[in-house]
């Protein structure tokens, strides 16, 4: 039985054209609207990813596998491993984060949610930022938490675990933001994966240099705070610029 079939069951579709316009009057602009929309986007994306666990686990498994294979492939010599560990951990984490980027906007593009996202009266940059935040929470943050454990396998000196995790947490946030620009630009292409890597990798290099540098400095006994400060500055810069670049890239992709 369909309630939809009769006039009686039909919901009120009364329209007051002035309604929405009145709400957007300069003085009466409800700021709550944006907060609600951003919160709902966060919640929706978190729920979606928690229901597709394999997508969340994929980069983490990749990270663990790569780091496990290096001691086997190179040499189990702890001194040698300790020298290359900061770079190895950072490169592997960077590639793992890159792997997961392609799917950031892909499924929304395919099922039509993305065009709905572009047609909301809410600022697209903020909604895009919410999606990136979820990506970092479920990719960057777990990678940062996992890295010290894998560091043990590479004989990373004990004092540098905290710096490793902090540098990765800061760095992967920048990586997610920068990568999302590339993901937004290539979302309309059927095989955008390679192009995405080519676009994004050059921009990842400063983050890699200072991230791995921070861990190296911690091992050497120099203070890592300068490196961490630069990572923080890179993050602040990406936070300022990336949301607008993501919004513009999404518009270009949908236009094509």
């Amino acid at each position: 039985m369909f309630a939809w079939a009769g006039e009686g069951g039909m919901p009120s579709t009364e329209v007051r054209p002035g309604d929405n316009a009145a709400r957007s009057a300069p003085d009466g602009e409800p700021r709550g609207g944006l907060g609600v929309a951003v919160w709902a986007t966060l919640k929706r994306d978190l729920t979606l990813l928690m229901r597709r666990r394999s997508e969340v686990l994929n980069p983490l498994v990749f990270f663990a596998l790569v780091i496990t294979l290096f001691p086997i492939g190179i040499s189990p010599d702890p001194e040698l491993l300790a020298t290359i560990a900061p770079g190895l951990l950072w490169v592997a984490a960077l590639l793992a984060a890159l792997l997961s980027l392609d799917s950031l906007f892909r499924s929304d593009y395919e099922d039509g949610s993305l065009e709905q996202l572009l047609l909301t009266p809410q600022p697209l940059a903020m909604l895009g930022l919410a999606k990136v935040a979820v990506h970092w929470l479920l990719t960057g943050l777990p990678l940062a938490l996992m890295a010290p454990v894998l560091g043990i396998m590479l004989a990373l000196p004990a004092g540098s675990y905290l710096i490793l995790a902090v540098s990765l947490a800061l760095g992967t946030a920048s990586l997610s933001l920068i990568g999302a620009i590339g993901a937004a630009l290539t979302v309309g292409l059927s095989r955008g994966g390679v192009l995405l890597s080519l676009l994004v990798l050059p921009l990842y290099i400063p983050v890699l240099i200072f991230g791995a540098g921070a861990v190296q400095a911690a091992i050497m006994g120099d203070g890592a705070s300068a490196h961490l400060a630069i990572l923080g500055a890179l993050l602040a810069l990406s936070l300022m610029l990336a949301p607008w670049a993501i919004a513009a890239s999404l518009r270009i992709s949908i236009n094509g």
């Binding site: 079939a5 054209p17 316009a21 709902a40």
Partner: protein, 214 residues
């Protein structure tokens, strides 16, 4: 405030072929405008241009007499667009899908309103199943529930009748007419024959893009 969406001298080229040229449209509240034409005649493209998604066209668009470029925010606040793809996430339940759309529309999500909207499109009892387990028609109904959930004066609907059964089609038609009668405006493409009513107007697209309005 009255509703008025105008297009002047609209033209769109795809792959060295003009889909339509010199198309003038004047759509007001209280009308159902049906865009007709064979496959590939540019119906979806026209709807995307009119809903502000494509910038790759010639001509001008006006919303309530002011150019679209300036009126975009006001236009988006009045628009409800349902595209070819229903925009329904397979992994989320109908209730969760609608909660997101409700929040995007700037309203605080209330479950009672969502349940009522789902009930109205005949999905009572399916609220908590993942949308991926529903049939194509039911997924389309989830998207159509937004018509009642987030009231907007201008509806732009691309093939809304796809996969909907006969009772559903009749109900949706009635809903479109009721919307037009209450002052709203509907822009729709479909291959279904919509029952003629005094609100219905046709815009025909075809080879050469003559606009045969009547």
């Amino acid at each position: 405030m009255t509703l008025r969406l105008q297009a002047r001298g609209l033209a769109c080229e795809r792959d060295d072929r003009w889909l339509f040229e010199d198309l003038d449209l004047d759509i007001r509240g209280g009308e159902i405008v049906r865009v007709e034409g064979p496959n590939g005649s540019g119906k979806t493209t026209l709807l995307k241009i009119l809903s502000g998604q494509l910038a790759d066209y010639r001509g001008e668009l006006f919303w309530n007499e002011s150019p679209m470029r300036q009126a975009r925010q006001a236009f988006l606040e009045n628009l409800l667009y349902l595209g070819h793809a229903p925009g329904v996430k397979a992994a989320l339940t109908p209730l969760e899908n609608l909660a997101w759309y409700q929040a995007l529309a700037g309203e605080s999500p209330t479950e009672a309103a969502r349940l009522a909207a789902l009930d109205a499109v005949g999905l009572a009892g399916f609220e908590d199943l993942p949308a991926g387990q529903l049939s194509a028609g039911q997924q389309r109904r989830v998207a159509l529930a937004r018509l009642a959930l987030t009231p907007r004066p201008l509806w732009v609907l691309d093939e809304p009748f796809t996969a909907i059964d006969r009772d559903g089609v009749a109900a949706l038609e009635a809903q479109l007419v009721a919307h037009a009668r209450s002052g709203g405006c509907v822009l729709v493409t479909t291959h279904h024959d919509i029952t003629a009513s005094q609100e219905l107007r046709h815009v025909r697209l075809g080879r050469g893009g003559r606009d045969a309005e009547h």
